[in-house]
Chain length 216, copies 2
């Protein structure tokens, strides 16, 4: 996959979108330079997730970005999404790799160097976090800090994303620690202006790139 | 699919199993003649469902019965289960049909004649219910009675299962209304003796068949 798309990876969250529809928030995030959009709906029905993914697909594609479905490989396959992201409590990454065609993007959340090494055998990227404290995902456990991010980035041969409490003010530290990109929820979807919030994160992390320039 | 396997279709439920493991309950149900075992875990993680399905697969196969996964097509594919059962709030049946190989068994829950006709275009069987009042699935809506079962069985070209509040005392009415079989939860998994409970349902519904005889 084109690595620069991973610079800004936006995870959608309906509850945090302040009444704005997910398509609207997605369009703003894409306009601000997001290269990957992840659809997550842990408590949604399969039908709800399917319908939302069908609605988002053409929009995400029109920006040359990737649509990744959280957890539900079947939904991703049904809507021909670009890939799937799984955590350690979802289907095992090896099983997901077999279900996705070789070209499907597979991302795996990791919380330790051991998990990162195992995931990197089959994943196209891994995400490490929560790097900073976050209120978005209360079950995510204590923050792991930049040290684990640095160790994982040095140890694995796939792009590493930082996630958890990331915003324009701390993205540079993540990049310096070796992150290929950052995954954010609140910092974009809950922002007054999601487009500007996305662009600001990209400017802060990659001064040499225009907002979203690397993602098209 | 061999229709007589559908005579007794047992839907597993951990909460109703009275502390007995699902493998134990499954073995008893199979010994009593169940021809299909459905694994359902709406609130479970993908990993939990995957592990349980991996554990049940060889056991169900050893009895010549079918293992059906509720809702999660990806889990079914990952463990090479025999098929998938979806409701009206899950992935659309047409999408599931495409994901399963042609040989994968697809079942669909229907609550009206219209839903039954639509589902029968792609499904291997449909289930109609709740035929009788049931406390097992509080969200299942009011019972539809034997009339809908009769109408669906007369209208569609695939086997029809009755579900909802079924036990040895009312199974015969379902069969007379045209059901190819009955799907039960509590009547088997919560029974003092799941094996005898399963066998009793088969005896009551199909007097000419020995317990489980039609399922091997």
């Amino acid at each position: 996959m084109k690595c620069d798309r991973l610079r800004l990876y936006v995870v959608l969250d309906r509850e945090l979108s302040r009444g704005r529809g997910l398509s609207h928030v997605t369009e703003l995030a894409l306009a601000g330079g997001a290269g990957v959009i992840q659809l997550r709906g842990k408590t949604w029905s399969g039908l709800e997730l399917y319908r939302e993914a069908v609605a988002l697909g053409p929009l995400v594609k029109s920006y040359g970005a990737l649509l990744i479905i959280n957890d539900r490989v079947d939904v991703a396959l049904a809507v021909q999404a670009d890939g799937v992201h799984v955590g350690q409590e979802d289907l095992p990454a090896e099983a997901v790799r077999r279900l996705l065609a070789p070209r499907g993007v597979l991302g795996v959340s990791v919380g330790s160097l051991e998990e990162a090494r195992a995931a990197a055998k089959v994943a196209d990227y891994v995400s490490v976090g929560p790097v900073f404290p976050t209120a978005t995902k209360p079950d995510a456990g204590p923050s792991v800090g930049l040290d684990l991010l640095r160790h994982v980035a040095a140890a694995v041969g796939v792009p590493v994303l930082a996630i958890g409490g990331i915003h324009a003010g701390n993205v540079q530290g993540c990049v310096q620690a070796g992150a290929a990109g950052v995954a954010v929820v609140s910092a974009v979807v809950a922002a007054d202006d999601p487009e500007e919030a996305a662009a600001a994160i990209l400017r802060a992390g990659w001064r040499d790139a225009g907002a979203g320039q690397g993602c098209r």
